[in-house]
Amino acid sequence: MALRQIFRRLSVNRIPGRIYPSLGQPFSSAASLSEPIRATLFPGDGIGPEIAESVKQVFGAAEVPIEWEEHYVSDKVDPRTESFLTWESLQSVRRNGVGLKGPMATPIGKGHRSLNLTLRKELGLYANVRPCQSLPGYKTRYDDVNLVTIRENTEGEYSGLEHQVVRGVVESLKIITRQASLRVAEYAFHYAKANGRQRVSAIHKANIMRKTDGLFLKCCREVAEKYPEITYEEVIIDNCCMMLVKNPALFDVLVMPNLYGDIISDLCAGLIGGLGLTPSCNIGEGGIALAEAVHGSAPDIAGKNLANPTALLLSSVMMLRHLKLNNKADRIQNAILSTIAQGTHRTGDLGGSSSTTDFTKAVCDHL
């Protein structure tokens, strides 16, 4: 019974044609665009609208040629998507090819899918990319973190196939497919090459899970052969955890299956100061990119002009890089980093007392 379910899932996920990314996409010719690029914006809940406003202001000050299409989560379940995200919102992202998402609080209840799950499945978001860089001026125990975690986001341990064998014994199926592993490995190497990274490390536990992680590694090795200029290595997950907390400078790009990716990407966020500062971008089939802030909606400080927009701003920078607007991306990123490094305008979570608007204005001034 479970086998049939697996096969059905696999055939739904099959995407014919090319494996990958924005290389052939229309938005690769950056500089001279006569008309603005349309991007979908989901401000989200809680502090979402405030930090989305920050992004709009900074983009305006930097004269970024982006036209936002805002979409909100509705309060009724849309039967076409089985969730609070409407079909129109999803179509908007599919059409525009890029989006930026603020924090969304999933309403509790039955009869609908979680918002993140909806986005992931409907847009085929298969890789979650999180660059983790130490912020100069914001001290944590680790000063020299400069790595990127790339997590396979569709299968693995999170395939959702759990069943009870007998009372007190439950089984969970971990699915690793050649297709998904190749896909994420291709993206990882493409990202490394496009961003000037030297090394890609595949994180695994193939000594214990020989067939599943073994297949993942096999796929990574195949892709590695096509990029001889990039160093490829394989690191066992527990060794990786230890090395990350002892000497994170050892890592460059990490590519991993779903569960390890979940854990390691949050661990790396912890190394640089938490989810409030970490950008993230989800890559989908056909070169779709949905950048998002991975922190929560912080309802306790919503509407009080206290939120830190850094995560969403850095995520929007990732979105710009995906669109090959590297000049603008660099300018905005440098402005953010200098503002934080300067130390005079920091929001509460970084130990300062600036408001969201003050911080945003400081970033605009630094442009």
């Binding site: 527990d238 060794n239 955890c241 230890m242 907390v245 912890g270």
Partner: protein, 130 residues
């Protein structure tokens, strides 16, 4: 993430197999590495004690040849074994001696930033036993 940013909020952590492996290695990395973390495996009828974190420091030929392996992890694990056998006073004496040697900082193996050999560290621990 919490472990990495604020490890002091945790006391005892109980986990399933995979997560435990990851958490133990992360915690060991934060606290000083495989060379210093003790550990034990407890079963229905028996208990086996070995160093706590599995990563690295294992099967490294170079360390064995140069006699630079850190004995602290296994010494502390044996102290855990003594406690398990209900010899708390012996366990305390051993642990105190080891702690003093590390605190003093004169005899440290390479992984702790020093240059002593295994034997030198062991001799120092014996010297500090009371």
């Amino acid at each position: 993430m919490q472990l990495v940013s604020k490890p002091e909020q945790f006391d005892v952590m109980v986990t399933p197999n995979l997560y435990g492996n990851l958490v133990a290695n992360t915690a060991a990395g934060i606290a000083g590495g495989t060379g210093v973390m003790p550990g034990g495996n407890v079963g229905q009828d028996h208990a086996v004690f070995e160093q706590g974190a599995s990563a690295g420091n294992v099967g490294n030929e170079k360390i064995v040849e140069q006699k630079k392996a850190n004995p602290v992890a296994l010494l502390l694990s044996s102290a855990m074994m003594l406690r398990h056998l209900q010899f708390p006073s012996f366990a305390d004496r051993l642990e105190t001696a080891v702690r003093r040697v590390i605190a003093e900082g004169k005899y440290r193996t390479k992984d702790l930033g020093g240059s002593s050999t295994t034997q030198e560290v062991v001799d120092a621990v014996i010297a500090k036993l009371d």
